[in-house]
Amino acid sequence: MPLLELRNLYKAFGGLQAISNVSLTVNEGEIVSIIGPNGAGKSTLFNLITGVYQPDRGDIIFEGERINGLTPDKVTRKGIARTFQNLRLFTHLTVLENVLIPQHHRLKSGWLAAVLRTPAYLKEEEEMRKMALEKLSFFGPRLMSFRLHQPVYVLSYANRRRTEMARAMATGAKLLLLDEPSAGMNPKETKEITQIIRRFRDEGGYTIVLVEHKMNLVGEISDRVVVLDYGEKIAEGDYKDVVNDPKVIEAYLGRREE
């Protein structure tokens, strides 16, 4: 059974058909990249999966369960977490708090128990902290020790990206949707993030779908590449096959005048 399955999705904004008849399956443990020119519908696809938009037609099936129609917080609870193209961190909160908030939905204690600091609540809080540190340690010592207690607004851009990924992991999701994880990073940082994404899969056991513009990153880590253009899936398969596909070349570079 595939982890995530999209069946004939359609989504229109007024007269613009943003997504039309897109089907896609993602198996457990895969890294799937979605590429396409600007405006191809990549981010819309993410927003459909995570419940920000509702599809006009079609089904989104996660672990055999239909999840379209759910609100974003419920989708996250099912096990799909995302990062944002333009960072959406809790800027004035500390790194640690940023990674604790996504675990809040797993909290069993009620608010009164939290105020009274019952033993059950304190235990849960302790576990949340442990999990937060575990996810942050994916990125080495960069976000640990004193940085844990620094507000996000003092972090560098690359560290913010890392914090956002740690935050998505801390939701307890199985499937991570990364929207341009290397945006705004220099080549060295991009290389590093490539390795980290691979480690998410190999060590963390996550399945990953990512939207990306940097082709060398895509080529290096993707098991499968899906190409969107004008809301339609025009190619799917191995990176090498896809980039040599005449339809893909046409989408990116245009048709040659005969």
Binding site: D73, H92, E97
Partner: protein, 449 residues
């Protein structure tokens, strides 16, 4: 451990200080100021939960306070006070059923009914509960809105609630626009309000530093991200709104007891406005700030009376000169602190020149009749508050405390967000001279020394 001891010691000292104050002669003015700070402090801290921590502009707080005030009044009112307005407009039902004494005795809780103090605890709790119920009713539909729209809707609801006691249909209960007088004042004393204040501070601080508090702040920082991270927006917004309404109700009950009367003018929109000023002054999102802001506003209002007394006119001129000259000095100081050039700008010189001119006028014409006649500046306290607010908004927009809270760690350490020498050495970024010139410079200094 150390911090808990420090907190307990502070509370102990506060209790001792308060005790000595109640025993001292001529301290009634200060005591009533403190009482008001505690009452308004509760209201401000509760408003801060929505406006500061949840980041939602709500303008209906006076409505919740009014509900608390009326409920406390009705539950605590002695039978003889209640008789005149209840019998006039029917309501046998209300007379027979809305009676806290009867409820308590019915439930076999005579010992509470016999003690007016315990009865107050129950009444205040019920007042909070009533406000919280209304909070849910108001919050559930309106919290779908955002920003200005929500502010307008909450303001509307607040006014509806405020004007409701005037309606003839409920006048049998509320005595209409005349309001209720003769409420026992026990809960309005400094001790009551002090302990209620302590409890609310304890409760809301605990809430703030719990997982729920973090979720509230996540919603404030970025609603879309919070939702994408699994936070149920509707639930958490209504929860915060309800808790806030509960404590607003308690504050309203305490205030009604302090005044020993309540009517629809007691809790008009200016109450919410006053609270907003207090929390903006202290720093939105900071409980410490809300308390500080309230204290400033209350103290200016109570002890600013001397500003509005009649004085000879030259005092006014002199005051004007002082204000102008200090504005000049202050602007120069700020520009210097911010390393702006030139330190003194031409437009600021105008202030200085005006100040000197006023000073000269005062000295030269000090014996003229128009200089010695008596004048009075009504409303100067409010102007002073407004000026303080303007200055804070210009020079420290986040308020006195910003989002920070008072904590013992801030004073005695250790500060966890500042790297130790050890951590500094380990941190790649901090020890890399290309990225961090300060570190390189420091090493040079060390080497040369």
């Amino acid at each position: 451990m150390r911090n808990t001891l420090l907190t307990l010691a502070t509370v102990g000292l506060a209790i001792l200080g308060l005790y000595l104050l109640t025993q001292a002669e001529g301290s009634s003015g200060l005591l009533s100021a403190l009482t008001l700070i505690f009452i308004w402090g509760i209201a401000a801290v509760s408003l801060n939960l929505i406006n500061g921590q949840l980041g939602i502009l709500s303008l209906g707080h006076h409505g919740f306070m009014l509900i608390g005030g009326y409920v406390t009044a009705l539950l605590m009112l002695p039978e003889k006070e209640r008789a005149p307005f209840r019998t006039r407009l029917l309501s046998d039902w209300a007379r027979n059923h809305l009676d806290l004494d009867k409820w308590l005795r019915g439930a076999g809780l005579d010992f509470i009914a016999n003690s007016i103090d315990l009865k107050f605890v129950v009444a205040l709790f019920l007042a909070g509960l009533a406000a919280a119920v209304v909070g849910v009713i108001v919050g559930a539909p309106s919290l779908r809105l955002k920003g200005d729209y929500l502010a307008i809707v909450t303001f509307g609801f607040g006014e509806i609630i405020r004007l409701l006691p005037n309606a003839p249909e409920v006048a049998a209960l509320t005595n209409g626009p005349l309001g209720i007088k003769g409420i026992p004042g026990d809960a309005g004393t400094v001790w009551w309000t002090f302990f209620a204040f302590l409890f609310v501070l304890w409760f809301l601080t605990r809430l703030k530093f719990s997982s729920y508090g973090r979720a509230f702040e996540g919603i404030r920082e970025d609603e879309i991200a919070a939702e994408a991270m699994g936070v149920n927006l509707a639930y958490h917004k209504v929860l915060a709104f309800t808790i806030s309404a509960f404590f607003a109700g308690v504050a309203g009950g305490l205030y009604a007891s302090y005044l020993q009367s309540v009517d629809t003018q007691t809790f008009n929109f200016f109450v919410t406005f006053f609270l907003l000023v207090a929390i903006s002054l202290g720093g939105l999102g900071s409980i410490t700030g809300a308390v500080l802001g309230t204290a400033i506003v209350v103290l200016v209002r109570i002890y600013g009376g001397f500003l509005e007394k009649p004085y000879p006119a030259y005092v006014g001129y002199l005051g004007g000169a002082v204000v102008m000259l200090s504005a000049f000095a202050f602007s120069a100081y700020i520009r210097k602190a911010r390393r702006l050039r030139p330190v003194v700008e031409t437009k600021h010189l105008i202030f200085g020149a005006l100040g000197v001119a006023l000073l000269l006028v005062t000295v030269l014409f000090r014996n003229e009749p128009w200089m010695t006649q008596t004048v009075q500046f009504f409303g100067l306290r409010k102007i002073l508050l407004a000026v303080i607010l303007i200055l804070i908004m210009i020079y420290r927009r986040e308020g006195i405390m910003g989002r920070a809270e008072f904590s013992w760690k801030l004073i005695f350490g250790p500060r966890e967000d500042i790297p130790t020498e050890e951590q500094r050495k380990q941190d790649a970024w901090l020890s890399n001279p290309d990225l961090n010139p300060d570190a390189a410079k420091k090493e040079d200094d060390d080497a040369s020394a």
